[in-house]
């Protein structure tokens, strides 16, 4: 569904603003609570780990969960995601879960990059490489799912 350029320009403002909000959330969470805003940290700590981490994770996840409703309440148009088919969601989810448990996740690596971590940069490149392979696989298999 490659967006034509004019459509991209129409969404440029919200994209930059939304990205900035994500970055601000990541930094604030770190400054205020010391936590890393990542799948490994926020979802992984639900499965056990250091005492007390799960409570902040649950609070963070609750915030994420209610955020669309808050936006809708203040008048933002509700837009549902165009999701892949369930087999892809299950296989993809399992791979993401294993990867996150190995310490690699998108936002966790973004956090690492802000700390000038070479490991985090290598991880991001690995993530993009994996995503590229997956994209090619989906082209070959014709497993669209996403409109």
């Amino acid at each position: 569904m490659g967006m034509p350029v004019d459509m991209l320009q129409g969404t440029l403002g919200p994209v930059v603003l939304g990205g900035a909000m994500i970055g601000l959330a990541l930094a604030l969470l770190r400054i205020l609570t010391g936590r890393v805003m990542s799948a490994s940290g926020m979802i992984g700590s639900l499965l056990g780990g250091r005492e007390g981490l799960a409570a902040t994770s649950i609070a963070f996840i609750a915030g994420m969960f209610i955020s669309p409703s808050v936006l809708v309440a203040v008048g933002h148009a509700k837009q549902l995601p165009l999701e892949a088919g369930w087999p892809l969601l299950v296989v993809g989810g399992l791979l993401v879960g294993v990867g996150a448990r190995l310490g690699s996740s998108l936002l966790g690596s973004i956090h690492g990059v802000t700390q000038l971590s070479g490991k985090a940069l290598a991880t991001i490149l690995a993530i993009m490489a994996g995503a590229g392979v997956a994209g090619a696989l989906r082209q070959i298999l014709g497993a669209g799912g996403v409109a």
Binding site: M1, G2, M3, V5, L8, P14, V15, G18, G19, A20, I22, L24, A25, A27, L28, R30, T33, M37, A39, I43, L47, A59, F60, G63, M64, I66, P68, P81, L82, E83, A84, L88, L89, V90, V91, G92, G93, L94, L95, V96, G97, G99, A100, R101, G103, S104, S109, G112, G118, A120, I124, A126, I127, G130, A131, V133, A134, G135, A136, R138
Partner: protein, 147 residues
Amino acid sequence: MIRLAALFCGLLCGAGLILSGLFQPGLLQDLLSPDGVGDMTLGLGLLSAVGVAALVLVLTRGLSQPLLGGENERPAAGQTGKAVVGGVLFGLGWGLAGFFPLAALAALGLFAPGAAVFLASVLGGMVLHDLFANRGRFRIEGLRSRG
């Protein structure tokens, strides 16, 4: 107070993902799209997030511990090799499913059924990883229990 801060950060991050549309699974496919004009929406949003996070974290780098107490969560231990393997798996899963975990959390707030399937699979992947990594003797049972 820490939990309230975490809730607020979750709200901010979720709102950013929804407002920018960055939670949309199709964006990664668009970015990687081989048919010419790769859509840069995702790249732009993530760059914006990295920029703001880095700026705020650099400005506050004098802080030795979180403002609300506790200690800073350390980056996941382990070598770069492991992180790269994890990154490739994470990227493969992201590319196949279209969601990264925090995007799926925001989509869950829109009651998108696929996001729930994906997140359940992420948890499943984490549990699978733990079974393999920490308790090899449960390997067979772990596989059996997943059918």
